[in-house]
């Protein structure tokens, strides 16, 4: 279902947290965008790559008990919105932690992990998750 090309295309963004910075207003975006939603046409040609630090804090979180097949073996897992210190908010799992230790406001950092596998013999997807800093 086109999974391979989709993943391959986006690996730099997923592996290195590569986003974009608007040369007009300085705002940073993740995932990458070609147009700044604030500056609109004034940002054309001024969007440049920007690598996020991966440091941030938990803005809100949930513990997922009912998960899609690709995540069945990981449940229950913690899914959070992370407010990154560079500005953008990002959706990701918080791992290597007892769910009871999770709190809104706790500092986290990004780690490179296996995200899921496409069926028993399908390709493995890698990307970012977060651990307590």
């Amino acid at each position: 279902m086109g999974e391979l090309s989709r993943m391959w295309r986006e690996s730099p963004n997923r592996y290195r947290l590569l986003g974009k910075k608007c040369g007009n207003c300085g705002r940073k975006y993740f995932p990458a965008r070609e147009i700044c939603p604030v500056c609109h046409r004034d940002s054309i040609g001024k969007m440049s790559d920007f690598e996020l630090s991966g440091n941030g804090e938990i803005f809100t979180y949930t513990i997922v008990h009912e998960a899609p097949p690709a995540f069945s073996r990981q449940k229950p897992y913690v899914l959070a919105l992370i407010k990154l210190e560079d500005g953008p908010m990002i959706t990701g799992q918080v791992v290597d932690v007892d769910p009871d230790e999770i709190e809104v406001g706790k500092k986290v950092r990004s780690v490179f992990r296996k995200i899921a596998q496409d069926g028993k013999s399908g390709i493995i997807f890698y990307g970012y998750k977060f651990t307590l800093a």
Binding site: R6, E10, P31, P37, F59, T60, Y61, T62, I63, V64, H65, E66, A67, P68, P69, A70, F71, S72, Q74, Y77, L79, A80, L81, P88, M89, I90, T91, G92, Q93, V104, I115, A116, F125, G127, K129
Partner: protein, 389 residues
Amino acid sequence: MLSKNVYIIGAGEAKYGELWDRSLRDIAVEAGLKAVEDAGIRTRDLGAIYMSNSLGGDISMQEHLSALMSDHAGIATEFIPSMRIEASTASGGAAIREGYLAIKSGEYDIVMVGGAEKMTELYGNENIDITSSILDREWEAFEGATPAALAALSARKYIKDFNIPKEILAKLSVNDHLNASLNENAHFRNKITVEQALKATMIAEPLNLMDCAPLSDGASSIILASEDYVRKNGVEGVKMLSSAMSQGPFALHSRECIYSVEPTKRAARKALEDAKTKPEDISFVEVHDSYNIYGLMALEDLGFAEKGKAGKLIEEGIGLNDKLPVNPSGGLKAKGFPYGATGVGQAVEAYLQLKGKANKRQIKNPTKAMIHNMAGSGVASVVHILGVE
């Protein structure tokens, strides 16, 4: 000639629920033909068909549902235009709006707006993968987000910031089940208590099964007509006082606020303005409570309560005999949640209530209804205001 006003002149519905013995085309045809019959028209009178469906391609592996429904309802021999409208879980509201605009433009005198979805064709947790396609697949679902998980992220923040007890959320589900017990087309006819609602199986903390709308099969249909048609034929329809839609950022993480839906606020403001109406003049509201937290957020964003104060409104009473009845149909939680049918189903309920045909769940003399259909976690919202003189 431009039509000054647009009217709903008929409505039909196939029962919502787990309909193992019925196909997508069966239920779509049933709802469509019932609406045609209710409107007292012939299928050859239809100028166009707008069919709402969200996930038919993935679930039933069937696209172009409008043509399939039209053909199996025997309408293909009329050779009228039909198309499928898709805007995630707001497909129904979007389809109604397309029908409304088509009549208002003067192109057609009568159109059918249908909505159908077959959610139970999927096995086990496969449905979570498919329904997650209404999220941003690459930057939300890829990380393990599900529709319920996103609602839970908003719920946790809402509960924390406004310091409200979880019971408040449960009360919206209890109200939905109570109303659905009076709706013969509802998925769930059982009443539930707050205690039962709080003890249900956890789905995505803090939300449990009773905070989440079910996967339902279902189909709903309405017939819209121009002012000219209604006048000439002496039909008493329900007037569409306004129609508004707004769409904002896709992913939850891109939004300014995760418990206020800007598209809902904008669509509501526009709909109220165009209908020259205030929230206090609305007799009842159908809100898109795919998760009860979204119901609370909607009551606030639509203008019925200040941000963080929907709980107070719910405590004061949202039953059929209270000041603002909420979800007389049973809402998404209990009438059911067949994605593409939901928005059209809300219009069916508004039509029945405003015509005094809602049987046991009839609200006393309603004059204006607001219906709110939302896409996913709040990507887009469609608000319609309907009324009778």
